[in-house]
Every structure is written in structure tokens, then in C-alpha cells.
């Protein structure tokens, strides 16, 4: 499962004197996997969200 940094997130992993990471940072997946361990809310799966099934839509209603 590929990961990405959430739009609008800014990850400061090593302090202000180092570069922060955003959704436009070009990072390898192993780096993103590591960042997810420290910033689980800012690193998410880049799989497109599945459309809701008909039954689920009805539940939502």
C-alpha cells in the first residue's frame, strides 16, 4: 500500500534547522513508512477512496 503525506500537513521530524516534509516532498516509500510511525495522522494511504456501496449509502442516509 503506497503512502503519501496528507495535503496541508507539514512534518517537522528533526527540528527547525532541517527541512520539513509536505505533500510535495519527493520521498521514497521506506521513508514514508518511517514517517508514518512518528506522524500517523500526517502520512496516509494514497489509494483512492472507495465509493460507498449502495447498502452503505442507505445506511448513511
Amino acid at each position: 500500500m503506497a503512502l503519501k503525506i496528507k495535503e496541508g500537513s507539514k512534518i517537522v521530524a528533526y527540528g527547525a534547522s532541517n527541512e520539513s516534509f509536505t505533500s510535495s516532498s519527493k520521498l521514497t516509500q521506506d521513508v514514508l513508512v518511517h514517517l508514518q510511525t512518528r506522524f500517523p495522522n500526517d502520512v496516509v494511504s494514497d489509494a483512492p477512496e472507495k465509493p460507498l456501496l449502495k447498502q452503505e449509502k442507505q445506511k448513511v442516509k
Binding site: 527540528g15 532541517n18 527541512e19 521513508v31
Partner: protein, 341 residues
């Protein structure tokens, strides 16, 4: 370029102290926290030796040779760098600094300005910048090379955290100590590759988990480094850890002898190893003997040497210039611990 200075036309008295920006002193050099190797002009050779011995059964005849004797050379050439800034001293004419401008329109530079801003703050800022980059800097090529390594858990693989750290390091003119610990060519074949550091996988350090994370570093230090009679290693930690340690010690529930601090709160120890607070990234710790970490330069005092002069004889604007050479080098790699969160 004019000096960026919002002046008040001085009529009365100016308070004597000039409020300067706060900056850290370069303790790495001034207190010798690493080995300062001077007179390193270019292609200076650092040699490392190894030996292996094997006891074997006595024979009266021809014995067979066993064991190893090895050595390799590493060539270090410091990078020549420069700080250079131009300014127009004319704006001083309207400021507090005019008080010590000598009579005559030809005299344009205030000795107070020279002392406080150029010789004081500006040169100290260069010194602090040099110290920061010595620890925390990476060539663009090194960043690319480390990004191409495959991360793994074993000691012989780059850690995912180490890759992340190099990715977060701002590209500069030379590789700093932390980058050199992760990637260098200081090996027998002079081939660039993964550093021989003892790798410790870390996490985000807080005042709550700081002892547990320092335990990981302490445990990873090769026992021979801590042997009695040898040179004592240092733990090099980010400056913020001083606060985290004090907060940890202030918690009555915590074991106080792990982090011992002298009464003046000027010396910090972990299990008897002195902690030196240096400008390394957050969530990074190094444990090493200072004789394994080298600050290579031509002349140490170059860091503080400033040249100030008119840009040209027919001009009134001026320049400040600082030239120096710098390289970071790591020796005895297998005995140095690098913790990265």
C-alpha cells in the same frame, strides 16, 4: 546594499547596551568537543589500522602464518567556503553610531558598529553557522546516494530513519558529521557507501521517554569504548535535551541517578558519560570518543577572521568577508553509535 537599520535620529542619550540577537557560542570548536585537526590544506591522509591475532599450537618446525595486519588511508580535502556581504555605511550617519564617527565626511565607519555588529554579532553568527553545518549538512550528491539505498533493519543496511534524516538535511557544500556517520568513503577501498556506525533505531524523544531512549544508546556502545583507562566517550545530543533531562529529573517518580547533573547545571551525565549539547537535529544522538570525530580545517582562527574594507578605492560602500576551509571526518566507525528517530 544599505544596512537594514530602522534608525532613530539621535538627539539625546542612547542606552549603552545594544540588544543583540541571541546565538549559541561555537562550543564544538572553543571547548574542543571534537578533535580539531588543523593545517589540513588538501589531500591530508588519515590512516586507520587493524590487526587480528590467532593463538596456535606450538611447532618446532615451520609455523603457518595466521592473523591479520591491516591499514588503510583516507584522504581528506576540506572545502573552501566563504561568507561575504556588502553594505553602505552611510546610513550610520543618522544613527546612534554617529557618536563615534570621527570628524570629516571621509570617515564613514563607526568603531562601535564595527565592534558590536561586525566584530561581535556578525562574526559570532558565522561561527555558530559553521558549527551547525559541521554537524548537520549534506552534499546534494550524498542525499541522492542515500535516497537510493534500500532501507532495512540489520546493521548492514541503512535505517529508514537515517534515510529520512538525510532527506531532511538541507543540501550544502560538504557532508557534516551526522551525514558522514551514515554515508562515507572512509573505508579500505575508499568506496562511497554505508557508514560503519552502530545503528540504533529511535523515535520522537520527549521528557517522558528520554531515559528509555538514552538506554538504547548506552546499550549499543561497544563495551571496549567504555573500558577503564581509555578515553571517555561523549554523548552528543541536541540542545533541547538539556530541558528534557531537567524536566525528567524534576518528576519525583523518576530515577534520578540515570541523568546526573552538577549543582551549577553545567555538566550533564548519563550513566557517567558526559553529555555534550551541540547543534544536531532533534531525535538524533551520537555516542563516540571525541578522537573519532574530526573538524578538519586549515587554521582554526579563520572562523573568526573577518576582512572589512572598501569594495574599491573609488567607492564608499564596503564589504565584510570571511574565508575558511572545513571538512568533517569520522574515524574508527565501528565504535560510534548513531541514534536516529
Amino acid at each position: 546594499m544599505a544596512i537594514s537599520y530602522n534608525v532613530v535620529d539621535i538627539r539625546g542619550v542612547a542606552a549603552e547596551p545594544i540588544i543583540e540577537e541571541l546565538i549559541f557560542d561555537n562550543a564544538t570548536v572553543s571547548e574542543g568537543l571534537v578533535t580539531l585537526e588543523t593545517d589540513v590544506k588538501a589531500e591530508t591522509i588519515f590512516t586507520e589500522t587493524t590487526a587480528g591475532v590467532t593463538m596456535q599450537a606450538y611447532t618446532a618446525g615451520a609455523p603457518s602464518s595466521s592473523g591479520t595486519l591491516g591499514a588503510f588511508d583516507v584522504t581528506v580535502t576540506p572545502t573552501k567556503v566563504q561568507y561575504y556581504q556588502e553594505f553602505d555605511p552611510n546610513s550610520l550617519r543618522f544613527s546612534r553610531f554617529k557618536r563615534d564617527l570621527k570628524p570629516s565626511a571621509w570617515n564613514v565607519l563607526s568603531t562601535e558598529f564595527e565592534r558590536v555588529v561586525i566584530g561581535g554579532l556578525y562574526s559570532r553568527k558565522i561561527s555558530a553557522n559553521v558549527e551547525s553545518l559541521f554537524w548537520n549538512n549534506a552534499l546534494a550528491g550524498t542525499k541522492t546516494a542515500v535516497a537510493a539505498l534500500v532501507a532495512g533493519l540489520p546493521q548492514g543496511s541503512v535505517g529508514a530513519a537515517e534515510k529520512t534524516l538525510v532527506a531532511a538535511t538541507t543540501a550544502g557544500l560538504f557532508d557534516g558529521i551526522i551525514t558522514k556517520l551514515i554515508y562515507n568513503n572512509s573505508n579500505a577501498t575508499a568506496t562511497p557507501g554505508l557508514g560503519g556506525r552502530v545503528k540504533v533505531a529511535g523515535t520522537t524523544i520527549t521528557s517522558s521517554n528520554i531515559k528509555a531512549e538514552y538506554d538504547k544508546v548506552y546499550e549499543a556502545i561497544p563495551a571496549v569504548v567504555l573500558a577503564d583507562g581509555g578515553e571517555a566517550p561523549f554523548i552528543y545530543a541536541p540542545r533541547s535535551h538539556k530541558q528534557l533531562i531537567n524536566i525528567f529529573n524534576n518528576n519525583v517518580a523518576n530515577f534520578k541517578d540515570a541523568f546526573s547533573v552538577n549543582d551549577a547545571k553545567t555538566q550533564y551525565f548519563f550513566n557517567g558519560i558526559e553529555i555534550k549539547f551541540v547543534p544536531i537535529p532533534e531525535n538524533v544522538i551520537v555516542a563516540a570518543r571525541k578522537s573519532h570525530l574530526f573538524f578538519c580545517t586549515d587554521l582554526a582562527s579563520d572562523i573568526n577572521k573577518m576582512e572589512i574594507n572598501k569594495i574599491a578605492n573609488n567607492r564608499e560602500d564596503m564589504f565584510i568577508k570571511n574565508n575558511m576551509t572545513i571538512a568533517a571526518h569520522v574515524g574508527n566507525q565501528a565504535y560510534n553509535v548513531l541514534y536516529v528517530g
